[in-house]
């Protein structure tokens, strides 16, 4: 699997009163990774809307392995995998930059709807072309 990597710094407001990254902050890190990947393939939310689609997240998992704190440098990794059904699946890893230790990993699933809120059961046209390019990129080793 080929990942996109983004470097970030843990902000003060992302850390809880025990000095650890707050569990909810990881969702925002996942989204930074996802957006970077989507940007590369012209699939940003507004670009999806231009094509007539939205892609709400319907499932999210996150496993926490280690903690980090304010001002630590982290690496956000994101990749997409090819699903058998008409959804988008993303995988994420958050690493501490210093030693590339895994802090957390997770996945999201997004369903595809028309802007008129109708669920689509198969991808077609320009949306399919862009999603296929994204999947091809992530499948390269």
């Amino acid at each position: 699997m080929r990942w996109i990597e983004i470097e970030e710094t843990v902000r003060f407001n992302e850390v809880d009163e025990w000095g650890m990254i707050w569990y909810g902050s990881f969702m925002a890190y996942f989204d930074i990774g996802r957006m970077a990947l989507l940007r590369k393939f012209n699939l940003l939310p507004k670009q999806m809307v231009e094509l007539g689609y939205i892609a709400p997240v319907i499932r999210l998992t996150c496993d926490y392995k280690q903690s980090a704190t304010t001002d630590d440098s982290i690496i956000i990794r994101a990749a997409a995998t090819k699903p058998e059904i008409a959804v988008l699946n993303f995988h994420f890893e958050i690493l501490l930059k210093e030693n590339r230790e895994l802090l957390a990993n997770g996945e999201t699933t997004q369903m595809l709807l028309t802007t008129g809120r109708k669920i689509i059961y198969r991808l077609g046209g320009e949306l399919k072309r862009r999603v296929d390019r994204l999947l091809q990129y992530c499948m390269q080793t």
């Binding site: 499932r59 959804v87 369903m111 109708k118 669920i119 059961y121």
Partner: protein, 106 residues
């Protein structure tokens, strides 16, 4: 399930059972048997209690088994009304497909 596809499709009883088995296998409904599925009960929400992700899985299974495409929720809502409705839907779509391929060949 080694029977010819057409033989199953032309026999409503067999197709009905085939679809029930397909639903159980596809969605890994381990606690449900063919006998538990009511032919007229809705498959989603109040009936079998399936959700929209299950619908996506069933669409792929139907395409694989019957080469019948369900494009979106509008068609899906109708087709997944109940086992009986789905049986009729598959029979109708299959007939239309054969007719189309024959007129294309002619």
């Amino acid at each position: 399930m080694g029977m010819k596809l057409e033989e199953i499709i032309n026999n409503s009883r067999k197709l009905c059972n085939f679809l029930k088995e397909m639903i159980i296998d596809t969605l890994k409904l381990e606690e449900i048997t063919v006998e538990d599925i009511d032919d007229d009960a809705p498959l989603f929400k109040e009936g079998l209690g399936l959700d929209s992700i299950d619908a996506l899985e069933l669409v792929v299974a139907i395409e694989k088994h019957f080469d019948i495409i369900i494009e979106d929720e509008d068609v899906g809502k109708e087709a997944f009304g109940s086992i009986n409705i789905l049986t009729q839907f598959i029979q109708r779509e299959f007939k239309a497909k054969i007719k189309n391929s024959m007129s294309a060949a002619g």
